[in-house]
Symmetry: C2
Subunit: 298 residues, 2 copies
């Protein structure tokens, strides 16, 4: 992981950054716990999701019904503890109070954006038709801020960067963050189950708002469109049907379209790196991270 942009401005003190990095990881973990409830996901990182774990614990201990409700309740609570634990961690960092306060404010801002994206995602998933523009808006709010812009800016803030310097992270972080989500969506349909840590076809079952879907619907013929519409969001999809979905997404050129867009975005992000820092080593960190986004298999 890139070291929060901190090194661009001051000599890095890794120990000082530890609680801040942990805070970002914890916030990330917490929103994923809640996201998994919202998306009804059962697996993450090759393990049952948090609400599913509580659910099976409940069944083991009490053999009662409404275990799924128990699981979700406990996971909601666990997520909230994560949000506030992260704030305490930032507070523990050895930085001037005004900078820590700015960092917490940035965290609150980007998490509000993330929630806006999450809400939009849940809401638009109910519509019959969703457009590429909508998908990219969701990606921007739901993913870009908490994965790239937020962490980069928090690093910058704690290093004493001004508004103008912080703004520069956006030229790198926005395209990189969208590319990250596009690759995530590609892996969600074409990835390896073991590498991904979740069952094949989870994104399809969930009927996720992805560019893969919108583009295939746009470019597909009547039969492909009909087939894809009937399978996207089908909770009981078979492996054979998953393969059918994959075939349609490939044949319509939708996979290639997403891959190309992701590559272009990575290129755009990399172009912005020299504006952020003159340090060649650091430029390399930013650039290789951008490349990694679309090379990763998990």
């Amino acid at each position: 992981m890139v070291k929060l942009g901190y090194e661009c401005f001051k000599k890095p003190d890794e120990k000082n950054l530890l609680s801040i990095s942990a805070a970002l990881e914890l916030t990330h973990g917490a929103i994923l716990i809640h996201d998994d409830i919202i998306d009804q996901s059962e697996f993450r990182h090759n393990q049952p999701t948090v609400h599913k774990k509580y659910e099976s614990e409940h069944i083991k201990r009490y053999q009662r019904r409404s275990a799924s409700h128990y699981g979700e309740g406990m996971a909601i609570v666990a997520g909230i503890v994560g949000y506030y634990g992260a704030i305490s961690l930032i507070n523990q960092g050895k930085f001037p109070p005004d900078l820590k306060l700015k960092a917490i404010d940035q965290l609150a801002n980007f998490m509000t954006y993330t929630c806006y994206g999450e809400g939009l995602d849940v809401d638009l998933a109910c519509r019959q038709e969703i457009k590429e523009k909508d998908v990219l808006t969701i990606h921007t709010y739901k993913t870009v801020y908490y994965t790239f812009i937020g962490p980069l800016k928090i690093g910058g803030i704690l290093a004493g960067a001004g508004e103008k310097e912080l703004k520069k992270f956006e030229d790198y972080g926005v395209p990189a963050g969208i590319a990250f989500q596009l690759q995530d969506d590609i892996l969600g349909v074409f990835g390896d189950e073991k590498e991904l840590g979740k069952p094949i076809g989870d994104d399809i079952k969930e009927g996720k708002n992805t560019l893969l879907y919108t583009q295939a619907i746009k470019k597909g013929n009547i039969s492909q469109r009909k087939k894809l519409t009937s399978l996207w969001g089908n909770k009981k999809i078979t492996l054979k049907q998953v393969q059918k979905v994959r075939k349609i997404i490939k044949k319509t050129g939708s996979l290639a379209y997403s891959q190309k867009l992701a590559r272009e975005l990575v290129k755009k992000g990399k172009k912005a790196v020299p504006k952020i820092t003159n340090n060649k080593n650091l430029q390399e960190v930013f650039s290789s991270l951008a490349d990694f986004i679309i090379e990763r298999k998990r």
Copy 2:
């Protein structure tokens, strides 16, 4: 509402406190949104709860199934926005950065306690037997911190109070907070539907962990215990059965027991007031708030 204890230390500046008070209200609102999902509550303040509102909106717009899941998902997101919005509000207050940071840290701490209480509540509700000690532990963590200790300490912190002064709020806030919850539980069973803003018997349907229940079980005869156990947590309870529950709670002396304990706690809290402030007017604010806790009908 008491003015955050701020006045005890400095001349109050109401405008400055507005964003802080709003932050506490917002946090309170957010945890109630999540609490209502966890408790499966359908009404609050004479209106459908947030997840229920989203659910009916969904049915109106999309006529689809899984509307309850949509409602809960959107309400989870709304709650998170509330938590972070509150942090932004504290940040907007015109106070020195180190004090705002301490206030935010206090918020994070007391919300962690609240979540611990909430989790304990969810978990212990599944046990066959729950003891008075457990109920009071839940009340302390789940209610005392976010209603009394947290807000009082945040006011104190922003007024420049030291650790020793902040500690004094506990002698008032702990008994007052527990008394508040005891009265809440009494109203939950005996209160007026319109005043309360939620249907009669909601606490009984939910099988809530209350002293009213544990004490009635402890003091009741075999037939009363059997009846109460069968009705407590019954989601389809009738008005006649609610009246039966009320009768058992009265006859076993359980209602009187909770009322007496609440009165004693209020008395204990009031006794601590002179330690907090010498200002007679302020002492009166603290004392009358304590009295109000057990006099309130909603």
